[in-house]
Amino acid sequence: MSRDGWGLVLLAAILAALPLVAATAYVLTLLNVIGLYVIVTVGLILLGCSGQVSLGQAAFYGLGAYASALLSRDLGWSPGLTIPAATLLVAAGAYLVGLPTLRLAEHFFVLATLAVGIIVNVLMVQMVPLTGGASGLRDIPPLQLGGLRFTSDLHYYYLIWALALLALAVARNITSHRTGRALRAILGSEVGAAALGVEVARYRMQVFVLSAAYAAVAGAVYAHYIRFISPSPFSLYASLFFLIMAVVGGLTNIWGGLFGAVAVTLLDQVVRAQLPRVFPRVGGEYQTAIYGILLVVIMIFFPSGIVRGTLDLRRALVRVPHRIGTARARSPDRRPGLGDSPRPADGGTP
C-alpha cells in the first residue's frame, strides 16, 4: 500500500477517535461542516488539476441540497435515495453547462461558471412555489438508511467524514494514474497534451462533471443534516469561500483540499473566538477584509498552497538540490500553482 494510502488510513483512525475526546454538539457540527467543505473543495481542486477554476461551485452545492430536499420532502422519497438521485441530476446539469462553456479559454470559463452560479441563486430566490423563496425550505426529513435514522450530530459526523475520505481517496486515485497524468499534462500545456493524443475536451468535461457531483453530494447531505435550507448559503460569496479553501490548500493538490477546508474554517472560528480578546468591541467586520487579504497574499506568495508553499520556501532556503515536488519553490520568472503561464512574454521559459 502506498505511503499516502497509509496516510488515509491514519487519518481515518484519527477521525474515528476524535468524537471520543471532543464531542460537544458544537465541535461535532463544526467538524461536520468542515467535512462537507472538504468534499466540495476536493472537487474544486480536481477541477484545478485540469487547469480550470469554478466560481459556481456553491450553485452545484445548493442544487444538490434543493434537489434532495424537494425529492424527499415533496415526493416522499427516502433521503437514502434522494442523495444519489440529486447528485446524478446535478452531474447531468453540469454536463449540459459544460458542453458550451468548457470550450472557452480558461479565464472566460470562470466567468461562465460565475454567471451560472448567480443565475441559479436568483432562481432559488425567485421560484417561490418550488423553493420556498428566500425564506427557505423547512421540515426536511433526516437521512434514514435501513433501520438507522440519522438524527444526532454524531451520526452525521461518521457519514460525512466517510464520504470525505472516499472523496479524497477517489480524487487521489484519479490524479495518480493515466487520467491523472493526462490532466496534469493538460494543466502544463493543452497543445502539448493534444499533440500526444490526450483528449483535452473529454478530460475537462469528466473532471468538471465530477467536481459538480462532489459539491452536490455535500449539498444533499447538508440539506438532510441541517434540515433547513435557504438560498443564502449558496450565493456567490459561498463560491468565493470555497475558492479560498481550494487556494489555501493549493489549487492543483488534492491533499490541499483537506487542509484548505480545515484551515480556513478553523481560522474563521479562531478569529471569532480570539479577536474580541485582543481588541474588545470588535465586530465581525474584520472577517471579509481578512479573507480578502489572505486570498491575495496566498496567490502571490504561495501559489501552490500554504503547506507546499512553506515546504518549498524552507527547501529553497536550505538549498536542497531539486528533487520531485520540492522543485516547486518560486523563482522570479516561473510561477507554479496553476500550470505554466500561457503568456510567454511575461516569463515562461526564460
Partner: protein, 270 residues
Amino acid sequence: MTSPLLEVHELTRRFGGVTAVDRVTFGVRPQEIVAIIGPNGAGKTTLFNLITGFLAPTSGEVRYRGERITGLPSEKIAALGIVRTFQHLVVFGEMTVAENVMVGCHRWTRTGLLHAALALPAARREDGEVARAAREVLALVGLAARADDLARDLPVGQQRLLELARALAARPTVLLLDEPTAGLSAGETRHLLEVIRRLREQGTTLVIIEHNMDVVMEGADRVVVLDYGEKIAEGPPAEIQRNPRVIAAYLGEDTETLGGLVPAEPGAAP
C-alpha cells in the same frame, strides 16, 4: 515504389493577406526520412501545424494511409499515430521527466477515469507497463539519469531530447520533428542521428524540419524545400545542395541562416 503513407495535397493556408503555405504537395513513404528545409518564415512549422490539425488549412488536404485526415482534431490525428514535437519547447514543466514520457504513452493505453478512481488492477498494471516503457525510452535518448527531476529544471538541450522521448513513447507510425537538433551539442546531435536511424529500422516514418545541413545530408532520404510557403524543390539531399533555386532562396536570407548551409555551430538555438 510503395504507395505513400502520408500525402500532403495542394495544402494552402493564408493568414489575412499572407500565404504561409501555398499549394504544397508531397508524399512520404513508409520508413522514409524526409527533411523539410527552407529559410526562416518559409512556412515549415505552419506546414506541421496543418498536418497535425493544430491549424485548419484554407484549402487542400492531408491523407494518411489514403484516408483524409484534414479537419480532424489534433488529438485524433495524434491518436492515429502521427505525433510531433515543437520548435518552441512544450514540456510539462511541473511534471517529472519520467512522467512527461509516461504521458507520451497515453496513445496506446486505455484505462479511464473509472479505472483510476477505483484504482482497479487494470490501471495499476498499465502504470507498470507505462513506467517500464518510459524507462526504456529515456535510456534510448540518454535521459535515464534525470528521470525523477522536474522537466523545467532540464537545460534546453535535454528538454528537446525529452520532447523527442515523449514523442517516441507514443510509438508513432509517423514522427514529425520540428528542429530536433536546435540547442543540442555536437555530441547530442550525433546521438540523435543514431536514434533516428534506429527508429527507421524499427519501422517508423519521419518528417524532420531541420536547419543543420549536416543532419539533413546524413539523415534524410529526401528533402523538401519551402520558400515563402511554396515548394521550390524536392529530391535527394545531394541534388538539393546543388539546386540553384535553393541556394538563391538562402542567399536572399540573412547570413545567420546562410550559416545553415555550411555546418551549423553546435548549440545554435532558433
